[in-house]
Amino acid sequence: MQIFHNLNIDWLGKRKIFYVVSISLFLIGLISVIVRGFHYGIDFKGGTEIVMQFQKPVNISQVRKYVENIGLGTVELKTFGSETGVLLRTELQNIPRNIFPKILTNMDQVIQTVAPGVPYKITDSTASSVTYSFANPDTANEMVEKLSEAGYQTGKVSEEPSNTQVVVNVSIAEWIKDNLRQKMPDNSFKILKEDHVGPKVGNELKTQALLAVFISLLGILIYLAFRFKFIFSAGAVLALFHDTLITLGLYAALYGVIPGLNLEIDLTVVGAFLTLIGYSVNDTVIVFDRIRENMKIHKNMPLKEEINMSINRTMSRTILTAGTVLLAVFVLLIFGGEVLRAFSFTLFFGTIIGTYSSIFVASALVYEYAERTKKKIEF
């Protein structure tokens, strides 16, 4: 079997059509980015995220009602995987001041249950911890153990033998878990995943991610300029911009549209974009490689014919190589599980757009440049 055998189409003659298609795709993307914006994952935004697996199926709106009035403002809720999985997220770093008294009362109850009647006083409290002072070091040590056993992150203030103070960390995650345990006593849950990211980390990562994308593009630009001609390399990198921006636009446009597909930009997705940059240039290189070869053989053929012939001759392999990768990514999209879904999605659509641009955009840009500057390109 052979596809696209003896293809003979004047692609460059139709390049205006592809310009229109690309520009409209790009504009649609741009508009959705402006109107709908990006949704960053916890890696970039910072905050707290908990994924829990309940024993029985849960009703998301029910859980939402429970967490709405625990003083954390809006808490994002989503199903995770099956209908027993729930993902909760808040951008808050620490527990808001106004609900602190509630937490203290809650802690009082906890201390009363684990050690009834033990005398103590609060010596200090910060946004993320409460320090209790007990009568003597032995009681303090005992309380550390008991509170840890009860599921609280507890520690001694100092390891000196005379220490009587105990710090209990009160995090947002603990507060949410406490409340859900109380409100849903008949449906217990276990924690699949718990992430807490500070605000500084997120900002640093954003800069780093942008830098990584930029350096990748630069690296490819330099390598291709060295192997081909600068104009080819510029065409390839412009095509890459095109692929990345349209896929990003798709992200903004489709966020929250397809159920079960969580299109948030997190670290894994950035990884997918970088891979996309590295891979989608492959098809462009295949076409350019053929143009280079043809130019050496047919020195006097007009550039337009040369490029058209190269595209036609390599069409079958471009489609096939992209096709096999798409097959693999499709398997990943379907069977790869919840964690990899956005990653696979990026690569799936990115590869389709990348293949399109390799065939119809990159070479057209080279031709456009040669036409306008009336320069002869030679190898």
Binding site: L192, L267, L332
Partner: protein, 641 residues
């Protein structure tokens, strides 16, 4: 045929090395299955004996039993060390990024901090939370703008600001080193297998604790406060007599071999089953000695040293700890003493690290809160490394009394239960300034200085990022990942065979080798397999056949011009070369950048992608070509669909 020989040898070599590198992974998998079974049986038994047992206790027991089985046989340890490791996202565990709170540290160092100072610090910390600038610099800037000299709070009056800033920065840097040392010390004792503790940038520490089931407990390990104690080392006569008693008890129990209730006993049994082959070759006398003197066979005394410091193999420490915890042994150990191990091994023999075991006073003479400073230098007199230790006035008075009463005795410096040094007291030390010598190099002296400061100046750390993956999510990810790999492989192979017939099946066969090489290289590099890493492998499967497609399409083109099959194949391979190499190098470029940029899981992805591309190029350009040429030479018909 001859021209193929070299390449065939190369291929066989690559396959052989991959299999060799993967063998420990297979071994570790088998070991783990056995260990899980043994542990499950033991826990079942423990539950039967004590139905009241709490989950926390079961967790601890499980960990203890598993650790002691793993340490009982060096070959298990080796297999685990050389296997392909699973990332936290696959096996579950905790990743915590800590940042040393320089602001709090400065508050602690400052002389008589007043409200003004606190105001400055509050502002500095606020600014620091938004930028990368060092807190010391920010504070110095604010002080300057307010016209306050730094010497008002730090250093002494004669020093200028620049000098103080550089001193404070050194203090901040020390605090990070100290925090790392404290955390490493605790994590080692806690028994987390394969923890990773790394420093990142100037004041961050990344701690990865695989498979930690109890988050709360693990987080306590990461706090910056530590207990430093000075305890007298017991007299050799006393220690040896205690050891003899322990030895007798252990040897006595050994003869009544029906006793299986004690944990230590059951473990040695398991160990024996697994090491039977190794020990059978050893001399009977060693075995007899071990039977008569179980304690002295693992805690080796050096008669000539004049001390009762016992040398213990790294792997035997857990065994000794389990023995010492036995109620019958506990009964005969006097109340006023305890056995503690050295923090670092003192030497190696046959690849095994040896630790020192000391017997010290249970009640410390002094705790570390009294130490005000400790510095490591090279002594000008002896030109050997020493540590200078300073104490506050309370401490100095106590220290004079302690050293005066214990001349020529040894005092162990213990941090969080392990001994960092046990120097001999030469004279009575008054005034609180002591010099500790006997370190082998400056590095060791610096470590001791860090440890000495740990009691007085805790390194306050904040958790700025924390990620926990539960074991069940990890298990799901492994299942999903491997299922996708297999489905991906089958689908792609099927497509290639369908489209290229016999040539397609060669592509499918070289795909098998590509996957083998990827796993072999992962094991060889000691890399960690993560979920994105598995995704990288699946993606590589899709990309690997690209090279085959390029070559086959080229061969078809050549065939269409009427060339023979042999020259078409030669031309196909050589003409497709440049496109294959150029396109793959661009992917490798981004892979390398991704590796630099990413953390944990993403690095795993970048690594598998890079390895996968290189392996697939080898498979397509060397293996597939050899198969083609072989078939041509043998006259086997090649069909390209």
């Amino acid at each position: 045929m001859k021209e193929l020989r070299f390449r065939i040898i190369l291929i066989l070599l690559a396959i052989g090395i991959s299999l060799y590198l993967l063998y420990p992974t297979y071994q570790a998998y088998q070991f783990q299955k056995n260990i899980d079974r043994t542990v499950a049986n033991r826990i079942e038994q423990i539950k039967k004996e004590d139905p009241q047992i709490t989950k926390l206790q079961i967790d601890n027991k499980t960990r203890a039993i598993e650790d002691s089985i793993k340490s009982s046989d060096p070959s298990i340890g080796q297999a685990f060390q050389k296997r392909i490791k699973l990332g936290l996202d696959l096996q579950g565990g905790m990743r915590v990024v800590l940042e040393v709170n320089t602001g709090k540290l400065l508050e602690k160092i400052a002389k008589s901090p007043d409200d003004n100072f606190k105001q400055v610090m509050a502002q500095a910390e606020k600014e620091a939370s938004l930028s990368d600038e060092s807190v010391v610099d920010i504070m110095a800037r604010i002080m300057k703008s307010k016209g306050i000299r730094l010497s008002r709070y730090f250093g002494n009056i004669r020093e200028d600001d620049a000098q103080i800033i550089s001193d404070l920065k050194k203090d901040a840097d020390d605090a990070v080193t100290r925090a790392i040392e404290i955390i490493r010390n605790r994590v080692d004792q806690y028994g987390v297998s394969e923890p990773s503790i790394q420093r990142q940038g100037t004041r961050r520490i990344i701690v990865e604790l695989p498979g930690v089931a109890r988050e709360e407990e693990a987080k306590q390990l990461l706090q910056g406060t530590a207990l430093l104690e000075f305890s007298l080392v017991k007299d050799p006569e006393f220690t040896i007599s205690v050891m003899k008693k322990i030895d007798d008890v252990l040897a006595g129990n050994d003869s009544t071999s029906s006793d299986t209730t004690t944990a230590g006993k059951a473990e040695t049994k398991v160990a024996k089953n697994e090491t039977k082959k190794d020990t059978a070759n050893q001399k009977m006398t060693a075995e007899e000695f071990a039977k008569k003197h179980p304690f002295f066979s693992v805690a080796i005394l050096n008669q000539k040293s004049g001390t009762a410091d016992a040398y213990v193999k790294a792997d035997d420490r857990d065994k000794i700890k389990a023995w010492l915890d036995r109620p019958d042994v506990q009964k005969i150990i006097p109340d006023n003493c305890q056995f503690v191990f050295s923090a670092k091994p003192f030497g190696y023999q046959n690849g095994q690290a040896f630790y020192t075991m000391y017997c010290v006073d249970k009640n410390p003479q002094l705790t570390g809160g009294v130490i005000t400073n400790a510095t490591a230098t090279i002594s000008p007199e002896s030109s050997s490394p020493v540590v200078n230790m300073e104490m506050n006035s309370d401490g100095a008075a106590e220290w004079a009394r302690i050293t005066g009463a214990n001349i020529d005795k040894r005092i162990a410096i213990i941090l969080d239960g392990v001994v960092y040094s046990a120097p001999v007291v030469r004279t009575k030390i008054t005034g609180g300034r002591s010099e500790i010598s006997g370190m082998s190099d400056l590095k060791e002296a610096q470590l001791l200085a860090i440890v000495l400061k740990a009691g007085a100046l805790p390194a306050p750390v904040d958790i700025i990022e924390e990620r926990t993956v539960g074991p069940s999510l990890g298990q799901d990810s492994i299942t999903d990942g491997f299922r996708s790999t297999i489905i991906g492989f089958v689908v792609i192979s099927f497509f290639m065979i369908f489209y290229y017939h016999r040539a397609g099946s060669i592509a499918a066969a070289s795909l098998v080798f590509t996957i083998l090489f990827i796993f072999g290289a992962l094991a060889g590099f000691g890399a960690t397999l993560t979920l994105p890493g598995i995704a990288g492998i699946i993606l590589t499967i899709g990309m690997a056949v690209d090279a085959n497609v390029l070559i086959y399409e080229r061969i078809r083109e050549e065939l269409a011009t009427g060339k023979t099959i042999k020259s078409s194949i030669d031309n196909g391979f050589s003409k497709a070369n440049s496109a294959i190499v150029d396109s793959n190098i661009t992917t490798i470029i981004t892979g390398v950048i991704l590796y630099q940029f990413g953390t944990g899981p993403i690095q795993g992805f970048a690594l598998t992608l890079i390895i996968g591309i290189i392996a697939s190029m080898f498979s397509a350009l060397v293996i597939a070509r050899v198969i083609f040429e072989y078939m041509v030479a043998k006259g086997i018909k090649i069909t390209l669909g």
